[in-house]
Amino acid sequence: MLLFLIRMKFKGKDIISIKDFTKNEISYILDYAEEMIPYAKGDKYKDILKGKVLSSLFFEPSTRTRLSFESSMNRLGGRVIGFSDPSGTSQKKGESLADTIRMADSYSDAIVIRHPHEGAARLAAEFADIPVINAGDGAGRHPTQCLLDLFTIRKEKKRIENKKIILLGDLKYGRTVHSIAYALAIYKAELTFVSPISLKMPNEVINECKDLGVEPVSTSNLEKAIKDADVLYVTRIQKERFPDAEEYNRVVGSYKVNNELLKNAKDELIIMHPLPRVTEIDPEVDKTHHALYFKQAFNGVPVRMALLSLVIGGSI
């Protein structure tokens, strides 16, 4: 009965921030995503979203998020309209985001949006009657990435609670790490934040973790932190988020995950990365059993299939 009620709550719901969801709701999505795996692989097919249209509005570049959303919609029998480059749209003529959303609202059954402005998805949800899914808003939130990261950790480690998890890299500007830190704190994971001093996790995020009863450790010493870690979550230093090139040049390449570093790690350590990576993970690591980032990217499909099915309607 409880599960049925949770499911009912998702129909028509916007997916803007992981903070909009309770732990039970998140766990429900992860369970449902688990059921989606054979459908995501193409081993099974059920056109539960036949006749439904998804607007895929990408105002910023994306490979994995956009393709996995489109794959998810197609694998459930739905269709996708939209753009991956706003230069071909009326935004170029100065049209507001609000007006673009009003149009998509009348052409489709759900909207997926990525936009450079923080809060853009929340604004879109105000102007759309159909559900809006945030696929990344500036340096802000990226809830579907967060869900697929949780899904990956839970799947590989059987549980998230009490797992020792390192978030490494650009913790200041990286949008995925803010959401994942909060979500991991909900599950009472043990968190260590490793970054160059200038890219430290904002106090706001640290305080949110504390409010949830988790005391994160902040350090710049990766060699020490990695010794007893269960999960190493690596992020790219994102050039596009830096206010000036000088600051970027000072910190780029300040950490690197390679086989030498992994000599100190536990055998069962898994390495995750939201991708794209640049130089932060040496390609030699790809061949080790620690590397999980490509599998993690696949997990975007069952998780997004679960979300589309929940908010648009229809059940496998």
Binding site: S96, L97, H117, G119, L123, G138, A139, E204
Partner: protein, 151 residues
Amino acid sequence: MKKELKIPRIKDGTVIDHITAGNAVKVLHILGIPRSTSSIVSVAINVKSKLGKKDIVKVENRELDPQEVDKIALIAPKATINIIRDYEVAKKHKVELPNEIVGIVSCSNPTCVSNANEPVTSRFKVIKKDPPRIKCYYCEREPEDISDRII
């Protein structure tokens, strides 16, 4: 001994009492004084009171409306508003922040969508009333100095 008033009583208008010491000038700014009024305004800063120092503002011939009261609560959460009619206190209430602040503070994040050219009004969730802490409804950032962000 009769208590001496630092600033004289007013016949009609509003007395804002218990303003956090040193914030009276900001309160005036929020109320748009002197631009928005030709009334006589008296200000007392660092007045001794039972609870330490406070500021007081007296605005003659002007009764504050609720939205103005909300604005004041952001920087003077312990302030009281006294509406004066014919030298008597006609209404008295403590300011209290509502759960949401709309159109009063702008977001400090330059890339927040509420600062872009979109048809929306700035909107903040109040996460703590005293001292006030607010969070942007759109980008979820907290402005560090609220008084600097009053529109």
